[in-house]
C-alpha cells in the first residue's frame, strides 16, 4: 500500500517538477509527424542548433546560481561580441585567428557592460529579472548610438563596404564571410552524411567543464550561498554585492563568446536585431529544458535546446499541414516560446510561495510546541 502511494506520489512530484519539458515533449511528439520532416533532416538541424546556441545558454547558468534569476542582460554580452566581429571584419582578419581576436576584443567591453549591469541590479534587489530585461533595451539604445552613429564618424572604420551610404553607421547586415564556420570547419566529421562540427562541440564541452569546476571553487560556493540567502551569506562574511556583480560579469563575457560562435555558424551579422532576439530565445530554451529561475544545470541546457528547437523547426510545416497556413505555425511557435517563459515564471513564483508558506507553518508549529 505505502509503496504504491509513495510511487504515485513520486510520479506526481516528478510531473510537477518537470511540467514544462514534458509539455514540450507532447508538443514535439504531436508536431513532428504532422510536419512531415524526415528524421535525418531533423537530426542535422538539431545538431546545427546545438552548435549554435549551447554556449550562449550555458552562460545563463552562473547568474541563476548566484540568485540573480534569468539574466536577460546577456544581450549586453551579445552586443560586445558583435562589436568585436564588426572590428575584425573591418580589419580583414579571417578564419580562426579572426574569431579569437573578436573574442579578445569583446572581453573588455563585456566586462565593462557586465560590471555596469551588475551594479544596477544590485540597486534593484528583488526585481533583478525585470531590471535586467530593461537594461537590455536601454543598452540597445547605447549600442545604436555607438554602432549607428559613432562608427565611421568618431570610431574609424576602414572598409567602405561596412558603412552606410550616408558615411557613418554600420550597415544592416554585415557579411562575415571571413570567419564563416571558422570554428565549425576546424574538425568537421560526417556521420551518415550529417556534418558534425567536433571543434565547436569541444569548445562547448570545455565551457561545461569550466562551469562544473567553477561550482566547486570558493567563488562558486560563495555564489551559491548568496543565491540561497543573501543575509546569511553576508553574515558568513561573503561580499554579497561583489559576488553578484562577478556572476553577471562572467555571464556577460561568456555571452559575448557565445554570440561570436553563433555568428560564425550563421555567417551573417544582423547588426541591429540579432542581439535583441538572442536573450529571449536562450532563456526560453533553458526553461524548456527544465530549469527554473532558481535552479539550472547543464542537463537543462542541452535538453532545452533539443526540445525547444525541435518545436521551433516543426511548427510552420505542422501548422501548414494542420490548418493550411504556415503563418499560423510561425505565430504558434512565437506564442509557445513566450508562453513557456510565462508558465515557468508563474510556476516558480507559486512554488516559492508554497515553500514559504510551508516553512512558515512548520515554524509556527515548532513555536506552538515550544510554548
Amino acid at each position: 500500500m505505502t509503496a504504491n502511494t509513495s510511487k504515485s506520489k513520486k510520479l506526481v512530484r516528478f510531473l510537477a517538477n518537470n511540467t514544462v519539458p514534458i509539455l514540450f515533449l507532447f508538443i514535439c511528439a504531436f508536431g513532428i509527424p504532422l510536419s512531415g520532416y524526415s528524421a535525418s533532416y531533423l537530426i542535422s538541424e538539431i545538431i546545427v542548433r546545438l552548435v549554435r546556441n549551447s554556449f550562449l545558454i550555458v552562460s545563463l547558468l552562473i547568474p541563476i546560481l548566484a540568485g540573480m534569476g534569468l539574466n536577460f542582460g546577456m544581450t549586453l554580452g551579445a552586443m560586445a561580441g558583435q562589436i568585436g566581429l564588426i572590428f575584425i571584419t573591418d580589419w580583414g582578419i579571417v578564419g580562426l585567428p579572426g574569431m579569437i581576436l573578436a573574442m579578445i576584443i569583446s572581453t573588455p567591453i563585456s566586462m565593462a557592460l557586465g560590471w555596469l549591469c551588475g551594479k544596477i541590479l544590485n540597486m534593484a534587489k528583488g526585481r533583478e529579472m525585470v531590471t535586467s530585461y530593461i537594461i537590455g533595451f536601454f543598452m540597445n539604445g547605447i549600442y545604436q548610438l555607438v554602432v549607428l552613429y559613432g562608427m565611421g564618424a568618431v570610431i574609424p572604420i576602414r572598409s567602405k563596404s561596412l558603412v552606410l551610404p550616408r558615411g557613418y553607421g554600420i550597415r544592416n547586415t554585415v557579411n562575415l564571410i571571413g570567419v564563416r564556420k571558422a570554428l565549425d570547419d576546424l574538425l568537421l566529421i560526417r556521420i551518415f552524411g550529417i556534418p558534425i562540427p567536433v571543434g565547436t562541440f569541444a569548445v562547448i564541452a570545455l565551457l561545461c567543464l569550466f562551469v562544473l569546476w567553477f561550482k566547486k571553487t570558493k567563488l562558486g560556493q560563495d555564489m551559491r550561498a548568496v543565491g540561497q540567502d543573501m543575509e546569511v551569506a553576508r553574515a558568513a562574511g561573503i561580499r554579497v554585492e561583489h559576488t553578484r556583480i562577478i556572476s553577471i560579469v562572467i555571464s556577460t563575457v561568456f555571452a559575448g563568446y557565445g554570440m561570436i560562435i553563433y555568428m560564425q555558424n550563421i555567417g551573417t551579422l544582423n547588426t541591429y536585431n540579432s542581439h535583441m532576439q538572442i536573450g529571449m530565445f536562450s532563456v526560453a530554451a533553458l526553461l524548456v529544458g527544465g530549469a527554473t529561475v532558481a535552479k539550472a544545470n547543464i542537463r537543462n541546457v542541452f535538453l532545452g535546446v533539443v526540445l525547444f528547437h525541435l518545436m521551433f523547426i516543426v511548427s510552420p510545416m505542422a501548422g501548414k499541414n494542420l490548418i493550411g497556413q504556415a503563418q499560423l505555425g510561425e505565430y504558434f511557435r512565437v506564442f509557445v516560446s513566450y508562453g513557456v517563459i510565462t508558465m515557468s515564471l508563474v510556476l516558480y513564483e507559486v512554488r516559492k510561495k508554497r515553500e514559504q508558506a510551508v516553512a512558515g507553518e512548520t515554524l509556527a508549529a515548532a513555536q506552538e510546541v515550544g510554548a
Partner: protein, 158 residues
Amino acid sequence: MRARRTLLIRLGAIALLIILSVVLFFVGKSHTVLVDNKATTREGTDLAALKLVEVEVNKLGSLELTPRDRDKFDVTGQKHKVTVTYTDERWEEHTIVRTFTVPLMQDMVMIEVPALVAFPESEQSVWLGKYEAPTYAVTMAESNEVVTDDLAVFMSDM
C-alpha cells in the same frame, strides 16, 4: 604583498593577451593578391604582355592568364610564394618561384606578371605594387534604411 602579486599577475596576463592579439592580427590578416598580365613599363623599357602564363600563389591552384587578363588570390598572412610558369618564343618552359611579403595594412596588392618575368631576380617592389580598389566598385547596392525592427524576432530563423 599578496595584492601586489595579484596585480603583477593581472598585468602580465593583460600583456600576454595584447601580444596574442597582435600575433593573431598578423596571422589572420587577409589580403587579395591580384595577378595582372598587362603590358607595362619598367625602367624605360616596354614589356609586352605574355601570350599565355600560369600563375599560382602558395598552393591555391594555378590560374591561366592571357594578355590583358587579371585574376586574384585571397590569402591570409603576410609572407607568400608566387610560382609563374610560361613558355617563351623558343617553346621552352620557364618557371619562376619568388617569395614576397604583403604590407600589413594593405588590403590589396597587385603582381604585374610581365615585370616579374622580365626581372625575375629583382626585389619585389619592381613587380609587386599596392592597389586601391576604386570606390564605386566597393559600395554595395543595398538599401539605405537601417531597419531597427524590434519585431524582427518573428521573421527570422533561430
